[in-house]
C-alpha cells in the first residue's frame, strides 16, 4: 500500500468541483469524511456504525452486529445491521420525494409528498423487531449461498410514521385486494435501470395491522441513509426484507406481489420439510411470513472469566414474530436442566421482550449459558439447527455464551 496525503475541506463544496461531479447525500456525510472517488470507503464513518460491527459485504453493503452490541433495550443506529440488496439511491431529495399508491386494486391512484403524509395522517411510534430472514445462515450445513449472517442481523428500534392502513384507506382499497408490494429508489447491482434490486410485500392482513408503518423517523431522528431515508415501510416481526427502504411506491395488488425477490427461492422455505442438501423445485417453496421464536444473550459478552462462588447477571432479548413470548429459560449444563429467567412484557406488540437472570455455577470449569425462548403457542427454540432449507433461512437455534469459572 502506498500512502499520500490530500488536502480536504470539511465543507464538501469545492471537493465536488474538484471531482467534477455532484456529491450526493452531502448532508449525511460526517464532517471531515472524504467521499468515494478519493479513498477506500470507511463504512463505519459513512453509516455512523460502531467499529465492532462486522462488514459481510461492501457491494452491496451488508453489516451485522455481535450479540453483546445489542444490549440496549432500543437498538441505536450504530449497532443496527444493514442488509442492502442493491446500491444506495444516488439522489434523494426530501422536498420533492413522493409516495405513490397504485396497483390493480387501488380505487384511485394517489401521490403524497412527505409533508402530505406528515400533515394529513396521525403519527404513531412503535418499537419494532426487524430480523433478516437469513440471520444465522452461516451455521447451515450443507452451506447456503448468500451473506453468511451469524446472529447479528436483528434490531429493535423505535420507528415513527403514519399507519400504512390510513394511507391505503385514503387512496381506497378495492374488494379484490390480496397483497401490497413496495417499490424503492435503490439501484440494481448491474446498474441496469430497468431492474429492481428488491420489491417485496405482505398480504393485506399484515399491511392493515396498526403497527405496520410508513416511517419517516427512527429513534427520534430522520431515518439514516442505510436504513431507508427518507421513507421506509416497516413490518415488524416479518423478514426485514418486507420492510422496504427508500420507498416511493406501494402497489395494492389483486394477486400475491410478484416483484423482485418474491419468487423462486428468495425468502421462501420448502412447503414440506426436506433432507439437508435436497434440491427443491421453485413451485414447492413457500413465502416466509412471521419469523420464528428466538432470543439473544446480550450481556455479558461471551468469554467472561469469573471467580468461583460469584454469580453472573445475564440479560438479553427474545422475540417471536407475530407472537409474544411465554417463557425464557437458561441452562448451564447443555440443556440437562433449565431454569426460568425473568421476562418483561413487550412495550408494544412486535417489540422484543427483555429478560434477565442471576446465574450461579456449582464449581470451577468451562461453562456455556444457553438461552431458550418459548412463544405464546408453546413453540420452543431448538438447541440444534432447525430444518435445513436451500437458502438458509430461519435459523432460530438457541444462542449461547462461554463462561469460565476460576
Amino acid at each position: 500500500m502506498k500512502r499520500r496525503s490530500f488536502v480536504a475541506k470539511s465543507g464538501l463544496g469545492t471537493l465536488a468541483t474538484l471531482l467534477g461531479v455532484e456529491i450526493v447525500y452531502k448532508e449525511l456525510i460526517p464532517k471531515g469524511y472524504i467521499p468515494v472517488a478519493l479513498q477506500e470507503i470507511d463504512p463505519f464513518a459513512l453509516f455512523k456504525k460502531d467499529e465492532a460491527m462486522v462488514v459481510l459485504n461492501d457491494k452491496p453493503w451488508n453489516m451485522e452486529a455481535q450479540a453483546y452490541l445489542l444490549n440496549d433495550r432500543v437498538t441505536p443506529n450504530k449497532y443496527m445491521f444493514i442488509r442492502n440488496n442493491g446500491l444506495l439511491p444516488e439522489k434523494i431529495e426530501e422536498s420533492s420525494w413522493k409516495l405513490k399508491i397504485d396497483g390493480e386494486s387501488v380505487v384511485e391512484p394517489k401521490s403524497y409528498s412527505l409533508s402530505d403524509l406528515k400533515t394529513k395522517f396521525k403519527h404513531y411510534s412503535y418499537q419494532l423487531t426487524l430480523e433478516c430472514g437469513g440471520n444465522g445462515r452461516s451455521e447451515f450445513n450443507p452451506p447456503a449461498k448468500g451473506n453468511q449472517w451469524t446472529i447479528g442481523a436483528v434490531s429493535c428500534a423505535e420507528w415513527t410514521g403514519v399507519r400504512l392502513k390510513d394511507v391505503l384507506a385514503d387512496a381506497g382499497i378495492k374488494d379484490d385486494a390480496v397483497y401490497i408490494g413496495y417499490h424503492a429508489a435503490d439501484m440494481h447491482l448491474s446498474r441496469n435501470p430497468t431492474k429492481e434490486p428488491i420489491s417485496r410485500g405482505v398480504p393485506m392482513s399484515k399491511a392493515l395491522q396498526e403497527e405496520t408503518l410508513l416511517a419517516f423517523s427512527m429513534n427520534g431522528e430522520a431515518i439514516p441513509l442505510a436504513h431507508g431515508f427518507p421513507l421506509r415501510l416497516v413490518c415488524g416481526g416479518w423478514p426485514a426484507s418486507t420492510s422496504g427502504k427508500w420507498l416511493h411506491t406501494i402497489s395494492i395488488r389483486n394477486k400475491v406481489h410478484d416483484g423482485e425477490k418474491m419468487q423462486g427461492s428468495s425468502y421462501r422455505v420448502p412447503c414440506e420439510t426436506v433432507a439437508p442438501g435436497e434440491i427443491v423445485a421453485d413451485e414447492d417453496m413457500c413465502i416466509i411470513e412471521s419469523m420464528p421464536v428466538k432470543s439473544l444473550i446480550t450481556y455479558p459478552k461471551s468469554g467472561a472469566i469469573i471467580n468461583e462462588g460469584k454469580t453472573v447477571r445475564i440479560n438479553g432479548h427474545a422475540w417471536a414474530g407475530e407472537l409474544n413470548l411465554s417463557k425464557l429459560e437458561y441452562s448451564t449444563d447443555y440443556g440437562t436442566s433449565w431454569k426460568t429467567a425473568t421476562l418483561e412484557k413487550a412495550i408494544n406488540r412486535l417489540a422484543w421482550q427483555h429478560f434477565n437472570a442471576t446465574v450461579s455455577f456449582p464449581k470451577k470449569g468451562y461453562y456455556e449459558i444457553w438461552a431458550r425462548a418459548t412463544d405464546s403457542k408453546g413453540n420452543k427454540q431448538p438447541m440444534v439447527l432447525p430444518g435445513w432449507n436451500p437458502k438458509g433461512y430461519l435459523n432460530n437455534a438457541c444462542h449461547r455464551i462461554a463462561i469460565k469459572v476460576v
Binding site: 500512502r3 490530500f6 488536502v7 475541506k9 471531515g32 479513498q39 477506500e40 452451506p143
Partner: protein, 149 residues
C-alpha cells in the same frame, strides 16, 4: 537574423499573454481560495491500494487467494458484486454452476464461455466446502475477567 527574431516575437506574443493571464488568475484565485477556505482545511491521510498488489498469496484489493483463475474471477465476478460475497460462500461445483446460471437468468451476468470452468475450478479449489455439524463448539472465544456478585 534580426528580422526573424522579430517575426517570432510577433507570432508568440499573444500566446504568452494568454499563458500569463491563466497563470495570474490561478495565483489570484488560489490566494482567494486559501483566504476564504484556508482555516477550515484539514490534512487527511488517504490509503491507496495498488490494484494489482499481491501479498502473502492474497490479492490485496479484493482479498481473493492468488491462484490460477484469479484474474478471470476478478474480471467477471467483482464487476457487479463484492469479492466478500465470494469469500464467505463455500460451495461445490454443482452449486457454483447453479449460482452462475441464476446470475445469468436474473442478475444480468453475461455468458462466460470457457471462463466458467476456470472460475468454478478456482472457487472450488480455493474455497472448498467446510464440514460443519448441527452445532459446532464455540470457537475464537475472547476471554476477559468479569467481576461477578
Amino acid at each position: 537574423m534580426q528580422e526573424k527574431e522579430n517575426n517570432d516575437g510577433i507570432v508568440f506574443k499573444p500566446i504568452f499573454k494568454v499563458v500569463l493571464l491563466i497563470f495570474t488568475s490561478f495565483i489570484i484565485f488560489g490566494a482567494l481560495a486559501i483566504i476564504f477556505y484556508g482555516p477550515r482545511q484539514t490534512q487527511v491521510d488517504i490509503t491507496e491500494i495498488d490494484p494489482e498488489l499481491l501479498e502473502n498469496g492474497v490479492h490485496v484489493r479484493t482479498g481473493l487467494i492468488e491462484a490460477d483463475g484469479l484474474q478471470t474471477v476478478i474480471t467477471n465476478c467483482t464487476t457487479c458484486h463484492s469479492s466478500k460475497l465470494i469469500i464467505q460462500n463455500r460451495m461445490g461445483e454443482e452449486q457454483w454452476n447453479a449460482t452462475i446460471r441464476w446470475m445469468q437468468k436474473t442478475q444480468g451476468l453475461w455468458p462466460l464461455g470457457e471462463n466458467q470452468k476456470v472460475i468454478v475450478d478456482y472457487l472450488t479449489k480455493n474455497y472448498p466446502v467446510l464440514e460443519k455439524g448441527r452445532r459446532p463448539p464455540l470457537t475464537d472465544i475472547d476471554w476477559y475477567p468479569l467481576e461477578g456478585k
